[in-house]
Symmetry: C2
Subunit: 203 residues, 2 copies
């Protein structure tokens, strides 16, 4: 494709380097920006540059943060005794979005995956140890993927810290809201029967 302008060709090339955006979509986006006030593209460009140059990670939980300690870790109204172990910053956002958890987090930065060459040393597992050594934490909650890697990661952390005298728990596995029983996989269905919970009117 001949874009008849080097700045356009360069913009299309860079935009199509993003995942899920091909050359045609990239061209569509570039032409869209050219039809908008110049300030929009400049604001976008500045936001992207600031994103990668200014983002920081919380020293405590390895979540994204604007300061050395993130807002969640700095929030004294939250329960320090419950530490939720997640793989990724997106998981923190997802759980925060539910408004059902008022403890703290620890972002591992991945999960143990021999297939991808990711071992415990690449994850922030020593940060868990630091947290446990403060003797404040009473419960570790695993909020990991329901996959082999997620299970392996939880098991590794459990084995390593089981003598620290804390409670271990994991988010419930079961039938998702809206799922029809006949289409549920048998493992989820089996777990949901084994771990059945008291019924109450509020659901």
């Amino acid at each position: 494709m001949d874009y008849s302008s080097k700045v356009l060709a360069k913009a299309v090339e860079e935009i199509s380097g993003l995942p899920g955006i091909g050359k045609k979509s990239a061209l569509r986006l570039a032409l869209h920006l050219l039809r908008q006030p110049e300030s929009q593209a400049i604001a976008l460009a500045n936001a992207l540059k600031n994103l990668v140059t200014e983002i920081r990670y919380c020293r405590e939980c390895h979540n994204f943060s604007d300061d050395e300690i993130c807002d969640i870790c700095a929030d004294s109204t939250r329960n320090d005794e419950i530490l939720c172990i997640v793989e990724d910053v997106r998981d923190v956002m997802a759980i925060e979005n539910t408004n059902k958890f008022r403890g703290k987090y620890l972002v591992l930065g991945g999960k143990i995956s021999p297939m991808e060459g990711i071992g415990p040393n690449q994850l922030h597992i020593s940060a868990i140890e630091r947290k446990l050594n403060t003797k404040v934490v009473k419960e570790l909650v695993f909020a990991l993927s329901a996959t082999m890697e997620g299970d392996t990661t939880a098991y590794y952390i459990y084995k390593r810290f089981k003598d620290f005298g804390v409670k271990f728990s994991t988010i419930a596995r079961g039938i998702s809201i809206g799922d029809e029983l006949e289409y549920a996989d048998e493992i989820s269905l089996g777990k949901s029967i084994q771990n059945r919970i008291p019924y109450n009117e509020a659901g």
Copy 2:
């Protein structure tokens, strides 16, 4: 959604201002950029900024250009006698991509559309007049959308310049390659029979 970082929130906001990209996709793209070397996001940011600040339009044909005259207009091996009228710069790229046209272009910048309040004065129609006044152009080829607006635009230009002593032509309407006849719309099918062309073995 709480992004736990203002620079991340700002990046998501700006990215999701692009057409067809929602907040979730924007977050996915932002997190992707954070996993890449910093230089990738900076290259993207610079390309976007350069796109809107440095892009120029060819003085002759109103196509995108890096110089005052675009590469196509400056190309002396192309036929000056045939001027192809298109709505948009994307149409120039699409036709160039076919490698079947070696004349020059004129980008109108839209089509006459009373519904959207676009009249002939908002289009580069006077640029056609300037071209015709040079007495070089012998044929105007309409390569406009097969819509009411496209037809109106072609008719307006024809009426305005029909006494300039040039030939008028339009790209063929018919059945697209790969289309099954029984699903073709009747207007295209009708036009394709009316304007049937000599059959030859090369297709």
